[in-house]
Symmetry: C2
Subunit: 377 residues, 2 copies
DNA sequence: ATTATTACCTGAATCGATTCAGATGATAGC
DNA sequence: GCTATCATCTGAATCGATTCAGGTAATAAT
């Protein structure tokens, strides 16, 4: 790594404002404003002069903040995540969702503000000696798209107090907002049924976080029942219902491992733990492809064959899962579409539509190479 | 897909302001402000009353825009891309870069505003009947991180006119700003040398965009020379120098295909075209893994073996490349680190550091399965 | 008992624009 | 020649807070 340093230009001290331009030219401030915002309100001549003087004086154009204050509009949409952005964007599917939102809102002139949950470490603790409000309450936006799991999440609450238009994403059970979600339960059932049809009867479930205060490890029935993250809860139920519907008993046939992070590394830990159970699961149901891919890596490293010894079914169909070896069987969900719908719904609200809409997108099982019949013997 | 609609709550009409709270309580506005911003400036008793009255009246806390105007600070960093966000986030490495930035700036209380280039289609043309300034000029931020290729890009120019602190990323040749880049030329040389060492003498180069107005197709020497996107230009030079250094002639040994988008689909087109050249290239040098992966897919579909018949070397080492089959040989660049350095450099400027720093991060050749000796025959 | 602190609170100025109801003069209509 | 219309431009109000130099009254110091 190479680093070079040099001197910088001196920074402009006193800022040039619209008023300065007006004074210099002997015209009213409103005229200068019009030169920028309503060219038809003044003679082309004068406008030319205004623009020219502005340049001469180093006026950089109307200050966006002042304009927003006066107009009452920011042309910005807040995309809120419960976790720090540095974690959120660890997951490749975050980008797809952003892409979808952008597809809808960008051409309407909106920009996207990323708002992450609190970073909790000593550095931020030190920062919090200053009186800080949750960033969600201090952010300048016209509306929010909230990607949130738990109803009691502080970030969510802070966001709600803003009284701005909101669209909730992947959040089940709160009918007070417009929302976009997927068929989580159906998706989980599809995954489980797939391996059930292949004769599997022992399952290892790799679960996403169940509550905000989470740690890696096997989850007891009680812990499972205490799940507050709605997506996790519903997928878990999907797995369970499918398994029970097949005449099996959940407690006897499925071990559930709760992960603290949605990362391949956690998937590896989970797999290691689940493979140590007796009887050993022959099928792994993972709530995300990130986890599934980690599990896959670990299992192969143990010298076991996938799907010969163990079948794996993921969830999300993230880009890359198709390239795994073997390619990952997974439950596809339309990430980009989710973003598009969220954007569309928020846009409608911003344009005054007060009706409340809820969109549920379909999931689809994609059978690839990581799943197969239960091993004989 | 399921859609439900229902009635929404009525929206609050006249907004409750700090002044309303002050009036209701018979105190000065400054006191209410202090209740929120400097609790030590008033008695706990009164503060309690203020907060309570605020809640009673439905006051949502200090308006962020007004606060920003007064304070002269937004606590927001603009991340500027030359292309629309909907395209930018098509590339998985965009997320990694965001992650890196967030890692640095998030805990300092900054949020990230995504600013994309102009969407140019009929819809936005229709929008432009309104007098709109480039969004980069209307966005409320304290500073910019600009990810930009061409020096003459209008988005870049608009950004510069703001007179705010800036860090340029992946932009070579402009020493007037702090910047973060990678060893692009070295990386390209590493890629080319790798296949040269394996005896290859016929190359197909799959290039990224060379200019803003670009279209897919073979690029003549003139077109290559006219490249304005600096990253493309430098990588191209790297390939070329390595090849000439090996005693080969660029024109005779390398066909260059320029792609319009950095997508696998374009990579496939490029591969199709390059394979049709005579003599047929035995090694493909792609300027991104997205392109390389597309090429790989196409070549395998043609019944050719990689690396048996054709070697492929990518660039970027994006997540997923390792899972390709065969795993992709590529030039690794530290995406997250790039973000971190950009964030750090901007933060320094925001804190008053006026020195100008330029960081160049190393690249590294990662040899995996997609490259091998030149086919005998 | 007098002065110095301290704790708590207020008023007015300010941040940088936008907006809209007019004022002014010039042109057009009859 | 007189009114109506039009094209330009201006002034003042406003958006919603923050800040800082004081002002009081109560407490502490001498």
């Amino acid at each position: 790594m190479t680093v070079k340093r040099g001197a910088n230009k001196t920074k402009a001290k006193g800022r040039v404002t619209l008023k300065d331009v007006a004074r210099e030219l002997g015209v009213a401030a409103s005229t200068v404003s019009n030169a920028y915002n309503r060219p038809d309100q003044l003679s082309p001549d004068l406008r030319e002069k205004v623009l020219h003087t502005a340049e001469k004086l180093g006026y950089l154009g109307p200050d966006p903040t002042a304009r927003s204050l006066r107009r009452g509009v920011t042309n910005t949409i807040g995309l809120v995540y419960p976790s720090p952005l540095s974690y959120t964007f660890t997951d490749p599917i975050a980008g797809l969702f952003v892409q979808g939102i952008a597809l809808e809102v960008e051409r309407q002139g909106y920009t996207l503000l990323l708002v992450g949950g609190e970073v909790d470490d000593d550095v931020s603790a030190q920062r919090s000696t200053k009186p800080t409000l949750a960033t969600a309450t201090t952010v300048q936006v016209d509306g929010f798209i909230v990607h949130c799991f738990a109803s009691d999440d502080p970030v969510l609450e802070a966001t709600l107090t803003r009284g701005l238009p909101i669209v909730m994403v992947d959040h089940h059970g709160n009918e007070a907002f417009s929302s976009v979600k997927i068929e989580d339960e159906l998706g989980a059932k599809q995954a489980a049924n797939h391996v059930l049809e292949h004769g599997h009867t022992q399952f290892g479930v790799i679960s996403l976080e169940m509550t905000p205060k989470t740690r890696s490890g096997l989850a007891t029935l009680d812990q499972q029942a205490a799940t507050t993250y709605t997506t996790t809860k519903i997928r878990l139920e999907g797995y369970r219902r499918a398994i029970e519907r097949a005449g099996l008993t959940w407690e006897a046939c499925a071990s559930v491992y709760e992960t603290a992070d949605n990362t391949p590394a956690e998937g590896e830990l989970a797999a290691a733990c689940l493979l140590a159970q007796t009887p050993r699961p022959t099928a792994i149901l993972a709530m995300s492809d990130q986890l599934a891919l980690g599990a896959l890596a670990h299992i192969k490293r143990q010298g076991l064959d996938v799907p010969g010894d163990v079948s794996i079914v993921g969830f999300d169909d993230m880009p890359g899962s198709i390239h795994a070896s073997p390619p990952l069987t997974t439950v596809h969900q339309p990430h980009v579409d989710k973003g598009k719908h969220a954007g569309k719904l928020l846009l409608a609200q911003l344009q005054g539509d007060t009706s409340l809409a809820s969109v549920t997108l379909p999931t689809k099982l994609i059978v690839r190479g990581s799943s197969g019949p239960v091993p004989q013997k």
